[in-house]
């Protein structure tokens, strides 16, 4: 089908100042992140807090500018585009955030929230906008009378449906969903996951689905990428990752699902500057791991960054 997105060598550094200190320290939020996304496929990104998965989401859409690397989207290098050109491409890439309470403007009615992208990109004639909004609501399983409501009048699940409707309003090529079900109740999570399958199936929409929860990633993804400490530690097809995890971190996550005993070391040891990002918590670490950084190696369907991959 061809690639819709190709990311390589992406890097993002944050400079932070500790409280009461004048010194600035640099934090590598993303380092050497590379992956491809095929048209119509779903890539699941898994990682704990601080793994860089949300930073990655924001960088892909240029909501934040990466410090190095390349992002090729629909054949264009995003980092080299002028802002006017980028604006034209924005229509094709959309994002859905975790918290539907803060990602919808509380002073706008649903009809205005959903008309905004339609009008901004001139996707239909002014007099047809209402009809377009009604159709969007139908596609995400909401009644037409939602239109006149404000976000606070809706439940969490309904709000996330509105966020999804807003994202699909422009018929994008790519949607990045950053923890879209994490703040929802269990009985609602399944509804929203089904909705993702509904809007994806039968279209060429590509999806990047970010979650800390392996279950939801397994349900939706064709490929899975595992992140730790700002780096990709393993990437592969869903089957490869879940049936034959190779990185110790992935192994832990996968066996944690069945609540098998998991061995990790204390999580506060100093990270070795040169070594593997997982070194401080790795039960399998050896001499080399603290001194050298393993690169991501393997086949097209399964790559891992570990000297002693299982």
């Amino acid at each position: 089908m061809g690639k819709v997105l190709s990311v390589s060598g992406l890097r993002k550094i944050y400079e932070v100042r500790r409280p009461l200190s004048l010194r600035r320290t640099k934090i590598d939020a993303l380092q050497e992140v590379s992956f491809d996304l095929e048209k119509g496929k779903t890539l699941g990104i898994v990682g704990g807090s601080g793994s860089g998965k949300s930073t990655l989401a924001r960088c892909i859409l240029l909501l934040e500018r990466p410090d190095a690397g390349s992002i090729v989207f629909m054949g264009r290098e995003l980092l080299k585009l002028r802002s006017k050109e980028l604006k034209g491409l924005r229509k094709h890439m959309q994002i859905i955030f975790q918290d539907p309470y803060s990602s919808l403007n509380p002073r706008m009615r649903v009809v205005d929230i959903l008309s905004e992208p339609v009008l901004f990109f001139g996707l239909c004639r002014k007099e047809d906008v209402k009809g377009k909004v009604a159709e969007l609501l139908r596609r995400v399983g909401l009644e037409e009378d939602c239109m006149r409501r404000y976000p606070h009048e809706l439940s969490g699940g309904q709000r996330q449906r509105i966020a999804i409707a807003r994202a699909i309003a422009t018929e994008p090529e790519l949607i990045v969903a950053d923890e879209p079900v994490s703040s929802l109740d269990l009985s609602i999570q399944a509804q929203i996951l089904n909705l993702f399958m509904d809007i994806r199936d039968g279209t060429s929409l590509s999806l990047i689905f970010i979650s800390h929860d392996l279950y939801t990633v397994e349900i939706l993804s064709d490929d899975v990428m595992v992140m730790y400490g700002g780096r990709v530690v393993e990437i592969g097809t869903r089957q490869a990752i879940f049936d034959r995890p190779m990185h110790p971190y992935t192994e832990m996550l996968v066996s944690a699902r069945s609540r098998k005993a998991v061995q990790t070391l204390e999580d506060d040891e100093k990270v070795e500057e040169r070594g593997c990002v997982f070194f401080p918590r790795c039960p399998r670490r050896r001499g080399l791991c603290g001194e050298q950084l393993p690169s991501l190696e393997g086949t097209a369907s399964h790559k891992v960054a570990c000297f002693y991959a299982g």
Binding site: D185, A190, N194, M197, H212, V262, D267
Partner: protein, 325 residues
Amino acid sequence: MEGNGGKRKVLSVSRLLTVFPFDSNSIAPVDDVSFSVREREVFGLAGESGSGKTLTALSIMRLVPKPGRILKGEIIFEGRDLLRLDQKEMEGIRGRRIGMIFQEPMTYLNPVLTIGEQIGEAIRIHERLPKREERERVIKLLGDVGFEDPERRYRQYPHELSGGQRQRVLIAIAISLRPLLLIADEPTTALDVLTEIKILDLLQELIQRFQMSTIFITHNLRILKEIAQRIGLMYAGKIVEISPCHSFFEEPLHPYGRGLLAALSGISDRGRLKTIPGSVPRLSELPEGCRFHPRCGSAMPICKREEPPLFEIDARWVRCFLYRG
């Protein structure tokens, strides 16, 4: 009770009603809640957000935030009704006989006091010890909750610890006076998966070692499957089912429990997940009759008119007319 270990009731909550004013009326986030916790048992209290789990726990501790108040009910603990104790007597129970662990460890730790001082303070409220003895107790506790270098931790401040380590400190405070009952409210929800497992392992070990009874509150049924002996499932302020853990996961009685387990089980035959339609009602807009009936696939005419009581079958309790007998 010899030879029948774990059967005696440590805590017995009955017909608890906790209300909050709402507009000119009131809502009841804890509505007619009854359950008991047996000796050395982990009782899992499950439910989605807003179901009343946390307020049930806070009611037991008599810490319901204003303007909420406990209107009715009985909470029998060590032979006394906690709702009839005066403030001073209650303070003797809170922290000493009942320990509590919360979800966000950082919120409950004082950023300007060292870890050692904070655990020491928790002990000091109830027991006056010579300084050195207190310090030794704290260091022993830090070891109990799995710190390898308790001496160093004693001098550290909360911001120097990771989320999991802060939760260990809260656990140390909760068990510092060897309570009979431990209430753990979503103790691992804010943690990443690997830390969660370590904290759960630690809790299980401590519960066994100190022979505590525990109320474990969580929205995560997978956790309860692993650690609880019995489960109480809440929906919109009411307990809808109380069952032994294994029977619940084998075959939940209440349609809501069945729906939740189906949603957890993964893909259904048409390539979609099984779901419970609709969403949890607001407490101010509860439907007539059974609170779950608008979302229930087995709803009967009576469910729309009458609120079902708890029916008992085979030592399980369920609030559903399907079991009217």
